[in-house]
């Protein structure tokens, strides 16, 4: 099976050595060389490679974040110089990785395993590994949303609210909407519970955007946002809201 490979590393020399190894291997095409995560997402979207050789430490978007954005569309082998945290995550989830510097036959063996996996249709545990890319303590401070070849970075403080829509969540941020394949519960676990409150089964609200709570004509509670938008509040949602507001 011929493999179409994209090399992703922010260091020129690191890409050079991988290219050199791959060029000497049969049945491998290098379809892209990417110097950062954004280019990698674009390459996956436009060129549909079979495999990303993905460096973990990169500026702005690290390897785990790239995986979170494109993991369903492509196989990934991680590459790192030294990152105990990442290596532990790879071991836990039985993910293939290479440690810099590595020999050509190591890379060849990794490609063989990728071919096997692709034959079986296996995919990586994306969500679990994405969590490994988060800071060890604290909460997510930005949300990454992929829109075809583009990546939107949403700082959490700019998100007004999030609405569940089937298998997706829809972020409302500066007047625009962004869709991401994720459950509202999984998202809630990543966000700061002092800022984001689940006011309803389908709604997660940024407390900063709450203006007031009103009763509608059928005696249901409604959250009125600073821009006048109205969201429903469930009974448990109201209890949570009161707890947070210290009432």
């Amino acid at each position: 099976m011929r493999l179409r490979v994209a090399i992703v590393d922010d260091e020129d020399l690191a890409r050079v050595v991988v290219r050199e190894y791959l060029t000497a291997m049969p049945d491998v095409d290098i379809v892209a060389e990417c110097a950062n995560g954004f280019e990698a997402v674009k390459a996956v979207s436009e060129l549909q490679p079979d495999l990303l050789l993905l460096d973990v430490q990169m500026p702005k978007l690290n390897g785990f974040e790239v995986l979170e954005l494109v993991g369903r569309d492509v196989a990934v082998v991680f590459i790192t110089a030294y990152d105990q945290y990442a290596i532990r995550a790879f071991e836990v989830h039985a993910v293939d990785y290479l440690l810099k510097p590595f020999a050509a036959d190591r890379l060849a063996a990794a490609l063989d395993r990728v071919r096997e996996r692709l034959g079986r249709g296996d995919t990586l545990p994306i969500q679990e590994l994405a969590a490994a890319g988060q800071p060890a303590q604290g909460h997510t401070r930005r949300i990454l949303v992929r829109d075809g070849p583009r990546v939107h970075v949403l700082p959490v403080e700019k998100i007004e609210y999030v609405q569940a829509q089937d298998d997706y969540v829809c972020f409302r941020c500066e007047g625009k909407e962004y869709l991401k394949e994720q459950t509202l519960g999984a998202l809630e676990a990543l966000l700061d519970p002092a800022r984001f409150v689940r006011i309803h089964r389908s709604f997660l609200l940024n407390l900063d955007r709450l203006s007031r709570v009103e009763l509608d004509e059928r005696e249901n509670r409604v959250a009125v946002l600073t821009d006048g938008k109205r969201l429903p509040i469930s009974r448990t949602g109201h209890t949570r809201l009161n707890e947070l507001l210290g009432k």
Binding site: L13, E20, F38, A81, K100, P101, P135
Partner: protein
């Protein structure tokens, strides 16, 4: 903290000594015609109270420390304080005798005591001076221990910096990435690979050499930092640019070895490595009026959610602590983030 009052074991020992002196004086009093019972009834409560009065010698000893040239001052204040304390002691004695005289059994003894007032006064003075001497000893002891502690602390900080530097040489990231660069160059640019090996060898050797020294010229410290940056430049290519300005005056200043190394490493790992396009690291050292000013500046990720701001705290803390341990208030270190630039400013004496 009072060295005796602050510790229960010392206080117990102190009171025990007082009670034995009390027994001695009571023995003398039996020679003046008081019975043992009368002498002890009179003296034990007085001694216990006076023991605490004499603890105030601590403040006298602290106010007039035993420094060369101050002998007459120490003597004068000691005698004055002792006389004052003994006056209090006499007054206490009179009060206590008045109380005791209310019992018919003691009244005759009170009269016999009347003649012993000068003796009591002398005892009061002597006891206070004795207590003062003990306090001076304790004070000297404590000062010595404090000095020792500071010295130790300084040594630990220096050792810590050495360890960090040693770790920097074998900082897994730095080392493995450098090796990977060499591995890449071997295929495409053999002379480049060799240059990189030489740079790495020189840098490692230099860090080992200087860590054994107390002070090195700033020029040497900066040369080491530049070698490190050279190696990182091979890795980051055009993403890492360096600009350096060093006054001749400043280059001769002596600085603790590896003072700048953690700051330069921070500039690369938390600055350049996190920027898509990289940027410029600026090193600037100048000397004015006997003071050395060093500035290290690097671009940093200003995007919300970036970790640049809080990262690297450890290295910065170490540099700050070392400066403080060595120069006290004579040195300072400031950091600030402004318009996407992270800037560290050091100022220290340069003789």
């Amino acid at each position: 903290m009072h060295p005796i009052l602050g510790r229960i074991d010392r206080l117990a020992m102190y009171l025990a000594v007082w009670l034995s002196v009390c027994a001695l004086v009571a023995g003398v009093f039996t020679q003046f015609g008081l019975s043992w019972a009368e002498a002890l009834a009179l003296l034990v409560p007085l001694f216990l109270v006076y023991a605490f009065v004499c603890l105030s010698a601590w403040y006298v000893s602290r106010a007039t420390p035993l420094t060369a040239g101050g002998a007459s001052r120490v003597l004068a204040s000691s005698i004055l304080a002792a006389a004052f304390a003994s006056g209090v002691w006499l007054a206490l004695t009179r009060g206590w005798i008045a109380v005791l005289s209310l019992t018919a059994a003691f009244a005759p003894a009170a009269e016999r005591y009347e003649q012993q007032q000068p003796f009591m006064f002398a005892i009061g003075v002597l006891l206070f001076l004795l207590s003062l001497a003990v306090h001076y000893v304790l004070l000297a002891f404590e000062t010595a221990r404090e000095a020792e502690r500071r010295q130790l602390e300084l040594e630990i900080l220096t050792r810590d910096a050495e360890l960090r530097a040693l770790r920097a040489q074998i900082d897994p990231h730095f080392l493995y990435n450098s090796l990977n660069s060499i591995s890449a160059l071997t295929g495409s640019d053999a002379p480049g690979a060799r240059r990189m090996c030489l740079l790495l060898g020189d840098f490692l050797r230099q860090t080992l050499d200087v860590s054994a020294r107390q002070r090195i010229p700033l020029a040497d410290e900066l040369a080491m930092a530049e070698r490190y940056l050279h190696i990182e430049q091979v890795r980051f290519g055009s993403r890492l640019r360096v600009e350096r300005r060093l006054d001749d005056d400043a280059s001769r200043c002596l600085v603790p070895p590896l003072l700048l190394q953690p700051l330069v490493e921070n500039a690369v790992t938390h600055g350049i490595a996190r920027m898509l396009e990289g940027g410029l690291i600026r090193l600037d050292a100048s000397r004015t009026n006997g003071r050395l000013a060093i500035v290290i500046e690097n671009p940093c990720d200003a995007e919300p959610g970036s970790v640049a701001a809080r990262a690297g705290g450890m290295g910065l803390d170490n540099v700050r602590n070392r400066l403080e341990a060595m120069f006290g208030r004579e040195a300072r270190m400031d950091t600030r983030t402004e318009a996407g630039l992270f800037r560290v400013e050091l100022e220290l004496p340069c003789a």
